[in-house]
Symmetry: C2
Subunit: 222 residues, 2 copies
């Protein structure tokens, strides 16, 4: 198959947890594009496609290679203009960057602190060593120290979704009546949390969960 998505996994290659890779999975499904997902561990990334990128997702589309989830979404929009739009106009493209900034400045630091020890434990041994060595200096603490704050982060997490929850009183998706890439940005963050041992992070009756399931359903049936 000509279209390959390189995506991060744990020791179990079926356990794909990267928020950025999930954004691209949803974007490809939204566009109705077939693809083969190749799960790789952290330490396999530098050798992929002759060292094309230090991070995944990487998309190979025939003879094209693209890295970075937002760049991939822009590429898909430009390359497949007749498939359902991921942005619905210039304004939607601009504002998707705001949604990305919200997700990465508000949700990602919290999920990192909630999930980092679980992520470590899910990885293959060679990736565990890399992960600890790279993450601990970045976070300024050992994985075990961060894990001691996990319950407090979990307690505060639902509050960080207030913008989405408030918006859902007006409309079913960030994109309006149908989901767009901006929805998949926040979807990716929650999928990351849910696939790393935090499936009960939100109350079962939280409207954010219904929105999450709608996002999944739309792309599964497209």
């Amino acid at each position: 198959m000509a279209r390959i998505l390189y995506s991060l996994c744990g020791d179990d290659t079926d356990n794909r947890f990267s928020p950025h890779c999930w954004k691209v999975v949803q974007a490809l499904r939204h566009k109705g594009l077939d693809f083969e997902e190749r799960a790789v561990g952290f330490t396999e990334i530098p050798a992929l496609e002759n060292g094309f990128s230090k991070t995944v997702p990487i998309l190979r589309d025939g003879d094209r290679l693209i890295a970075d989830s937002f760049a991939i979404a822009l590429y898909l929009e430009q390359t497949y203009p007749d498939a359902p739009s991921l942005f619905a106009g210039e304004g939607g493209m601009g504002m998707a960057r705001f949604v990305e900034a919200y997700s990465q400045s508000t949700l990602h630091p919290a999920i990192t602190r909630i999930a980092v020890k679980n992520i470590h434990d899910m990885l293959a041994p060679v990736d565990q060593a890399y992960f600890r060595k790279s993450r601990e200096p970045r976070l300024g603490a050992t994985l075990e120290e961060i894990a001691t704050g996990r319950e407090a982060e979990i307690a505060a997490f639902a509050g960080k979704l207030a913008p989405l929850r408030t918006m859902l009183t007006h409309q079913p998706f960030i994109g309006g009546n149908t989901p767009l890439f901006a929805d998949y940005i926040v979807f990716g963050a929650l999928k990351w949390a849910f696939t790393t041992g935090n499936s009960g992070l939100l109350d079962a009756n939280d409207p954010v969960l219904n929105w999450f399931e709608r996002c999944e359903l739309v792309t599964e049936t497209s």
Copy 2:
């Protein structure tokens, strides 16, 4: 003049502070539409235009009356399609609701607690009495009690703008390369803070302040 914006003011009618009214001022300027702004106190609102709305902004456009800032923006977009767009497409319209939800769930409660006592003190005596009677039950505390938490709210405020600050590393406006109504939503929240005795709320070198000035400049020169 056929186009009238009813807008909230203090005892000094030049002191117009409502975030929602500022959104509409910016939207009208963005569209290049002339208007007369009529400043009213809280207690004058129920009698405006035969009791059309309990809140301002209210826009009279010839024989049309519209209340609610987002509804007014949608009306202007539909009625003046040849003037510069406020949304730049369906996606931008949907995502503007997300930006509104972010502003109202994250920034507004903080600015309320920072500014509520100042707002009270700025009002005409008759409006002061109304304001205290309506706000204290809603906030669950006296205005003076809320004011005791003001410094702590101010210290935490800049952090609540992290999504905007992060986005500004990618592009100059929430709308992308040019401002859209979504920019004016957050602009309105900050203008509310700045016009109610909190002009020093952000550090002088905060990129958010540069963005704020760019928003003002665009509409002043349009």
